[in-house]
């Protein structure tokens, strides 16, 4: 598929957020793979110090440097970077002010620790600053070094504050380089090159949080991306059967006959097994019905939606490629 065919053509910074437990990091990683495929170069950035990327790609903990971690289907590279706010601050000071000595002194005095933990606005500026620098970076040939950057961002509850750096920092630093820097970051974040994607499950709480998050991001004037519905279970039953089962109606007799025919059980055994299975089906049907309601709620946001299958064996490297493929076929990358 040509990159011009995707839904997010022109977007260079993909911010991936979601409620805890929805598989935000997994989706970010799969999206990076999908964006890289076909010979592109993509940077996957992690900011929360969890080393989640390393775990998913089954690698030792990542250092604070950009390194290649995966090759995408049909060529293309995924690089990863785990941003450490302290390191980012030192690098930043050296890069912009040549203050290596002062940087070390600051570290020793706990200033860096202070600035990066006590004033989270500063930390967010450093992290988003490093990320947007990678987005803007150009090689000797004048072309962008990365075709896309995927940011495994903080959870939905914090995302707007995290991205809205100017506002956060404005209260603290009214003038000076940090202020200028945050303005620069803001320029990238607010541009059409950035989109905020939401990862959710088809459950009430994550869906509600996603809708709240989308509203918040919109109010802040940031560009919304797509909704990635993660861990979707396919339903193998006909809709009529599901509808009846959701009402608690399911024909056990017919099922028992089927079990008998399959050689699984006989007589009373077949009936009791059928009862157990029927209980499963009723539960499944009720959940499917609720999931459908959640899908409809998500529709209110009027954003492109992508459904990613539940990987029954858990997320491993093969599963990640499967998700990446799914993202590509649905046109998200």
């Amino acid at each position: 598929m040509d990159s011009a065919d995707t839904d997010w053509d022109g977007v260079r910074l993909h911010v991936v957020t979601g409620k805890g437990g929805t598989g935000k990091t997994t989706v970010a990683a799969a999206l990076a793979l999908a964006l890289a495929s076909g010979g592109h170069k993509v940077l996957l950035v992690e900011v929360e110090g969890r080393q989640g990327i390393a775990q998913i790609f089954d690698l030792p903990p990542l250092p604070y440097e950009e390194r290649r971690i995966a090759v995408a289907p049909s060529g293309g590279d995924v690089y990863a970077l785990a941003i450490d706010p302290e390191e980012a601050m030192l690098e930043y000071m050296e890069m912009f002010y040549g203050m290596r000595r002062a940087g070390r002194a600051l570290t020793k005095m706990g200033v860096v620790d202070f600035a990066t933990t006590v004033a989270p606005g500063f930390r967010d500026v450093l992290v988003t600053g490093k990320t947007t620098e990678a987005v803007r970076r150009r090689g000797k040939d004048g072309k962008r070094v990365y075709d896309a950057v995927v940011l495994d961002a903080p959870p939905t509850g914090r995302i707007t504050r995290f991205l809205n750096v100017t506002q956060e920092v404005a209260g603290l630093a009214k003038v000076g380089p940090i202020k200028n820097h945050s303005d620069l970051v803001h320029g990238v974040v607010k541009s059409p090159e950035t989109a905020v994607h939401f990862v959710t499950l088809l459950e009430e709480m994550p869906v509600q949080e996603t809708l709240d998050g989308i509203a918040e991001v919109r109010t802040a004037g940031l560009a919304t991306g797509g909704i990635f519905i993660n861990m979707v279970r396919e339903s193998l039953l006909p809709q009529a059967t599901l509808d009846a089962a959701a009402q608690g109606r399911f024909d056990i007799g017919d099922l028992a006959l089927g079990l008998k025919s399959a050689g699984l059980a006989d007589g009373a055994d077949a009936t009791s097994l059928a009862e157990g299975l029927a209980e499963e089906i009723v539960e499944h049907a009720r959940r499917t019905e609720l999931e459908q309601q959640e899908r409809e709620s998500l529709g209110e946001a009027a954003l492109p939606r992508y459904e990613l299958p539940l990987l029954t064996d858990g997320v491993d490297l093969a599963g990640l490629y499967e998700l990446a493929e799914s993202i590509r076929t649905q046109g998200a990358a």
């Binding site: 409620k19 805890g20 437990g21 969890r50 000071m93 002010y97 203050m99 000595r101 002062a102 940087g103 002194a105 600051l106 005095m109 706990g110 200033v111 620790d113 202070f114 933990t117 006590v118 004033a119 989270p120 606005g121 959870p155 504050r161 209260g171 603290l172 630093a173 009214k174 003038v175 000076g176 380089p177 940090i178 459950e203 009430e204 709480m205 509600q208 279970r233 193998l236 039953l237 006909p238 017919d254 099922l255 006959l257 089927g258 079990l259 025919s261 399959a262 699984l264 157990g276 299975l277 209980e279 499963e280 089906i281 539960e283 009720r286 959940r287 609720l290 029954t312 064996d313 858990g314």
Partner: protein, 377 residues
């Protein structure tokens, strides 16, 4: 899997010696719901309970019959046995402001509350929520109005932040940087940097260059103003910390049967042991079991194939495929828990079956409470 001991929830709730239950664990595993369900169950067994939550989920408030929760405990329900359930949601800024107002003279309090650094610290410092949860817990405990306090911990970056917050705030206050910033003010010097050594000169220069002079002035005002109330802060943080170590406290680690959540649970159990915090056990939420577990996933899949090949009983084949998926899921969840149990064989466990629907009302919370109390280990 070696069978772990079963976590006896009712024994903990009924023990009048249990004064504090802390629910901790990774984000998104149902900590808050577990805390609320434990609270309701305890109240219905005659305890006077307050649930302190840090989760701003409206749904939880609604499930307890309130439009929203705030910083004041609200009565949720009363039971025939004299038990009562109260609930509140931590407002960290409000709690912080109250501490400042209570411990600084009005002029100083005004200075602090209007300082931009205070506003940043009180509303978004990553440790503030944890710290204020501890502070609130201490306040509730000292008030002695409730005989059981149940608290859920903030959804932090790391589950450990809860334990680290007081120490971190302490480290911040004790840091050389802070001491340097406060020193001139204490010495009564007009110029903040006049008395300082060359090393700090570099730092101050760098700070000014980076942040602008206004920031440094604000910071200094903030630190020296707050300095006056800091002693009390740390002291109370230490008291609360000791309270958590005391025998009246029970830590309940909450997890879901998924890799990350179980890993975090392991981490937490080890950390609690290190800190000599009393661990009651592990609650594993959203466990998928099958009511037809006698039929293995493999056999079920083979039978489905068989039926499909014969071209009959299409529906049964679909049911069998679904069953296979369910058994695979159950097996995976089982494996994730196995890692935990083999690493921590002495930790009692309670499994709570996944429910089709989220909790909407007290009835739902009651059901969770029943599942918790009658849970298989």
């Amino acid at each position: 899997m070696k069978k772990p001991a079963v976590l006896d929830i009712d024994a903990i709730l009924d023990d009048r010696g249990t004064r504090i239950i802390v629910c901790c664990g990774a984000g998104g595993v149902g900590k808050t719901t577990t805390a609320a369900a434990l609270g309701l169950r305890a109240a219905e067994r005659g305890r006077c309970v307050v649930v302190l939550t840090v989760d701003p989920a409206r749904r939880l408030a609604q499930s307890m019959g309130l439009t929203e929760l705030d910083n004041t405990p609200r009565l949720i329900s009363e039971s025939d046995g004299g038990g009562q359930l109260f609930a509140m949601m931590l407002d960290m800024k409000r709690t912080f402001d109250e501490i400042i107002e209570a411990h600084a003279d009005p002029e100083r309090a005004r200075q602090i509350l209007s300082n931009p650094f205070y506003q940043s610290l009180s509303s978004s410092f990553s440790g503030t929520q944890e710290y204020m949860a501890m502070e609130k817990l201490g306040q509730l405990r000292r008030s002695n109005e409730w005989d059981l306090i149940i608290v859920d911990t903030p959804p932090s970056r790391s589950a450990l932040d809860f334990l680290d917050a007081p120490e971190r705030l302490g480290r911040f206050l004790d840091g050389r940087f802070i001491r340097l910033l406060t020193a001139p003010a204490k010495a009564g010097g007009r110029s903040a940097f006049r008395l300082l050594n060359a090393g700090f000169g570099i730092v101050a220069g760098a700070m000014t260059k980076l942040l602008g002079a206004q920031v440094l002035t604000d910071l200094q005002t903030f630190v020296s103003a707050l300095d006056a109330v800091f002693g009390g802060f740390r002291q109370r943080a230490e008291l609360t910390y000791k309270l958590l170590q005391a025998p009246g406290t029970a830590f309940v680690v909450v997890a879901a049967p998924e890799r990350d959540a179980m890993r975090e649970a392991s981490y937490f159990v080890e950390r609690l042991a290190e800190e000599r915090m009393p661990l009651a056990g592990l609650v594993v939420n959203r466990v998928h079991e099958s009511p037809a577990a006698t039929l293995s996933g493999v056999r079920s899949a083979a039978a489905a194939e068989d039926l499909a090949a014969k071209g009959e009983h299409e529906l049964t084949a679909a049911v069998l495929r679904l069953h296979t998926g369910r058994m695979q899921l159950a097996a995976r969840e089982h494996r994730e828990q196995e890692h935990f149990v083999s690493a921590h064989p002495t930790v009692p466990v309670a499994q709570v079956a996944a429910m089709a629907e989220d909790v909407h009302d007290l009835e739902g919370l009651r059901r969770i409470g029943e599942l918790l109390a009658n849970a298989p280990g």
